[in-house]
Symmetry: C2
Subunit: 577 residues, 2 copies
């Protein structure tokens, strides 16, 4: 019951999508799980987007229709028989629903297309390989026959990573290639197949004592927002980062060695802590995003699982500049790094305080009186991982720096609140889109020196659109810079309007000199910007490697990393809908 009986609340969709529908594909996560906007967010949206209760009475484009399309399978019966011989008949799927379910990811454009029943890039067939030997046979055969191969891990791409632009086959790795191959407590490493999901990996490690007869429990330390529905393979090939990466490192820092099946043969690295034996092959394969070969196993570093040692903190700063400077000083202080570290700009802080119910309360008044004013103040939150004395020390040191920059300590409760929602927020995308509201995120990597310039430049573009929320935060910190993350929310009526705005943001990220991605990867979405960021000669290096590994361009073809984009095609990828 609402406090105010007359207050209208939209009927957020709370039903498990029917099997076979577009909605069952586009919905995030568990079909039975939902996270709806609370009343405060609802009011905020009405206010910001100039919407009324009326606008929230009739949801649209729910995608409730059954999947239906007519894209013929181009593979021959002989082709398909070969695949059946390799993986077994039960591991070959050709029905429309299965094909579509794995052809898109969770890029906003994917969801928009699904809502409108726009089906354009589906694989001819879907295969569930049993092991790396299956993959080897498949890749060899596809290379002979020039059949495109796409690889589907968790399906949580936000860059159109594995979209099957050229048809062909899709390898669905979650079905069978999801196993722990070896746990090595001496080295503190675990070797897994790429289709294993984040939670299954983590569960294995947390229960290492019973499962592997280990002396203690472990953690992978890698928790992207998509954690629950992402795969280890996806983390690795896109160069992902978890929300705790400031302490645990990006996936590049966690990968010890890997094995890939490429059209040019097997590439397999070995488990050494560090080497000086020529260029780093692991770093050549990571970031290849399925364009060089299929990842079939990876060995990751693991850490002791010690949640009992975690310490939490949050601070409110008077302004963005003080907050940024404090964050930089913490990063450069050499007393150890926090694990989660996240600094919200004034707009994101304002919305967060609204949603958490702080606005208008006594605490809010006290904050304002003390000089922590709405639309100026900034929230910093985080937690520390590691040894007990270490996490205590880091917390103490952070306190000292924050105080120096005039911050108010707002306890670890705020962090706990953030933790609760950390993997659940994506569920809200569906509710918003049911009423034509887009929410999307773009991120980039920036040095400290360039941080404010990029921040101001990109936000200026974002805010040039009226009635648009643009929450910005800095996360994944380093002594030399950080990840700058933009979340925009706006009422938009067409896919074209959405894309124009998104492309404008990407243009501006590039214009102000940030790297196009810190951890989302490039995929097909950002690919048209890649060459301008890294340079023509540098792009040629990627193309040379591509030509070597995959001379027939069967691996994730159709624009990934911009490797096979001709100049005129670049704008084609950015087509209007």
């Amino acid at each position: 019951m609402n406090k105010n009986e007359n207050e209208f609340i939209p009927k957020w969709n709370n039903e498990k999508p029917l099997e076979g529908t577009y909605r069952s594909i586009l919905k995030w996560g568990d079909p039975n799980e939902f996270k709806h906007p609370n009343i405060k967010l609802y009011k905020l949206m009405k206010e910001k987007f100039k919407m009324t209760d009326e606008d929230f009475k009739q949801p649209k484009n729910l995608g409730l229709e059954k999947v239906e399309y007519d894209i013929p399978i181009k593979l021959t019966d002989e082709n398909i028989q070969v695949f059946k011989d390799i993986v077994g008949e039960e591991n070959v799927k050709t029905d429309n629903y299965t094909r579509l379910k794995v052809s898109y990811g969770k890029t906003m454009l994917d969801l928009l297309r699904l809502r409108k029943g726009i089906v354009e890039n589906v694989p001819d067939i879907v295969l569930y390989p049993k092991d790396k030997y299956d993959v080897k046979k498949i890749v060899e055969y596809c290379n002979e026959e020039k059949i495109p191969i796409y690889v589907f891990g968790g399906g949580s791409t936000v860059t159109r990573g594995m979209e099957c632009v050229k048809g062909g086959i899709l390898l669905y790795m979650k079905a069978h290639m999801n196993k722990v191959l070896r746990f090595n407590e001496i080295n503190q490493t675990i070797t897994v197949e790429p289709g294993i999901s984040g939670p299954v990996l983590e569960k294995n490690l947390n229960n290492a004592e019973s499962l592997f007869n280990a002396k203690r429990a472990y953690t992978c330390g890698h928790f992207p927002q998509s954690f629950e529905y992402s795969s280890v393979g996806g983390w690795v090939v896109t160069r992902g980062a978890g929300q705790n990466s400031t302490y645990f490192g990006k996936i590049e820092d966690l990968v010890m060695c890997q094995e890939y099946v490429t059209p040019a043969g097997i590439i397999k690295t070995k488990e050494y802590p560090a080497t000086a034996t020529g260029p780093d092959i692991d770093r050549i394969m990571m970031g290849s995003e399925g364009c060089f070969g299929v990842l079939v196993s990876v060995t990751l570093k693991v850490f002791r699982y010690m949640p009992e040692n975690q310490t939490r903190f949050s601070y409110i700063f008077k302004n963005w500049e003080d907050a940024r400077n404090a964050a930089r000083e913490i990063m450069q202080g050499q007393f150890g790094l926090p694990s989660v570290f996240r600094l919200s700009d004034p707009e994101e802080t304002d919305i967060a305080l609204k949603l958490y119910g702080v606005e208008g309360t006594k605490i809010d008044n006290i904050m304002s009186l003390k000089g922590y004013k709405p639309m100026e103040r900034c929230l910093l939150l985080g937690l520390n991982d590691g040894d007990k004395d270490f996490t205590k020390l880091v917390k103490k040191k952070i306190y000292k720096v924050c105080k120096k920059y005039g911050a108010m300590y707002t306890t670890g409760v705020v962090t706990k609140g953030w933790e609760k929602g950390r993997f659940k927020d994506p569920y809200m995308r569906e509710d918003l889109q049911d009423f034509g509201i887009m929410i999307d995120t773009l991120e980039c990597s920036v040095s400290w020196e360039n941080m404010q310039y990029v921040y101001e430049g990109v936000r200026k573009y974002c805010k040039s659109r009226p009635n648009t929320i643009c929450m910005t935060h800095i996360s994944h910190f380093y002594p030399q810079g950080a990840n700058l993350y933009f979340i925009f929310i706006a009422k938009m009526d067409t896919i074209k309007e959405y894309l124009d705005y998104q492309y404008g943001i990407l243009d501006n990220i590039q214009k102000y000199g940030a790297a196009m991605s810190h951890h989302h990867g490039i995929g097909k979405m950002t690919a048209p910007w890649l060459e301008a960021q890294i340079g023509k000669n540098e792009m040629k290096v990627f193309k040379v490697l591509k030509q070597y590994f995959d001379s027939n361009n069967i691996m994730n073809p159709g624009g990934t990393l911009g490797l096979d984009l001709k100049e005129k095609e670049k704008r084609n990828l950015l087509r209007d809908f």
Copy 2:
């Protein structure tokens, strides 16, 4: 005066080598500086190598002769004129001495050849490029004319890194390309030309307040044993590591971005803290050891210079197993990492205690009584860098783990002793070789799981040779493994005897599954072993990159990284003398 007047002490060579002599080239470091073996080491050598005072009366092969050889310059006058036009007449050298001085490094084989006047691989001419624009013109011209290019940084290679096997030109980077291009206090980075030496870089950073108007002093944190005579360029292209790398990281961890001039054009990366924009180009260029192009600038992370915070420690363990386990537990404890961390095996510990005069003293007796027995006990030493409270914490935590494994605390004095000699020991090579004693080092990278297997296997081979000292230590530690380092000292009469033994060690490093190098690089010396370590397909990746960057094979040709070695040539590189 000696205590015992009758005691014979060799007349160690204490003279600055005459100009123009082979000795002036082979001698380590400052021509006026020496570090002679002390009486204890002298006695030890006599005992271990079954030598007598008589053997130390007549030094041999001192290389006192003036450099003289007749290897004609193959370049045409026109070629040379072009180079003069590019760099200026004063920056082109063609005399015999200059050519030889830069054609070898400090590989033991180089020193042995110089002592015997064996001159075989010299560049035709030596150029001192003024800046990257000179380099660009030189590379373009050499690529047209197919003239080999070798690059000389500090000249401290121990892998025959830049040996001018194919003649051609040598770029001497120390002369002019030794400048700081930019110091960036906000990002905590410094951009330098590759010819800058370790000490000059460090001096710049330590004096950042006066030189760059910085708020505080900084350090690069990278101190290889060759520090005083190494160049930043050498660190980067070989993937080096400093002795403090356990805290500060390997050079790969310190490099932010780089610029290379390659025959295929400029490769330039940008200053981002981390990215997910395709394969990592920085890690493709690092480790290329001069085979892809010429490094012309590099941006390194820097750290606060806080020597006042350093804490030191040392421990004696009862045995190798306890010591190794304690070291691993420290690495995996997640309380922060020490900076220098070095664990000596029983043989190295025994010699160290002899040399430090501990053997036979009261302390020695007490140690033995307590169970820390000669040829069983192991010495661990180290120091911590960082914030004051952090270094205190790490020291405290290390104490706790060491006590758990039964170690005796032997104070920070031992570390201070080690620090005194850390850059000076190479001076002793000359004294030893004057009497036919070889001292050489080989190192490899090993996971914790494989550590004891490699240790035993390689040492078994080393010790199969009678009268041979093989000191072994572990340094450059990681949670997943470490660098295993072998120092052998032996009386050997011929270069062939030396090489046979060295090749045997390399064979065994490979046989027992270690990586061929953790930080020395591969160069031409270890190259014949590289493919077997990394694999045929992996080697092909290097060759594909080589073909792209340097299709005419003008960059450091003649066996570096094994890129241009045909099967039958492999053994040629390993020729007998």
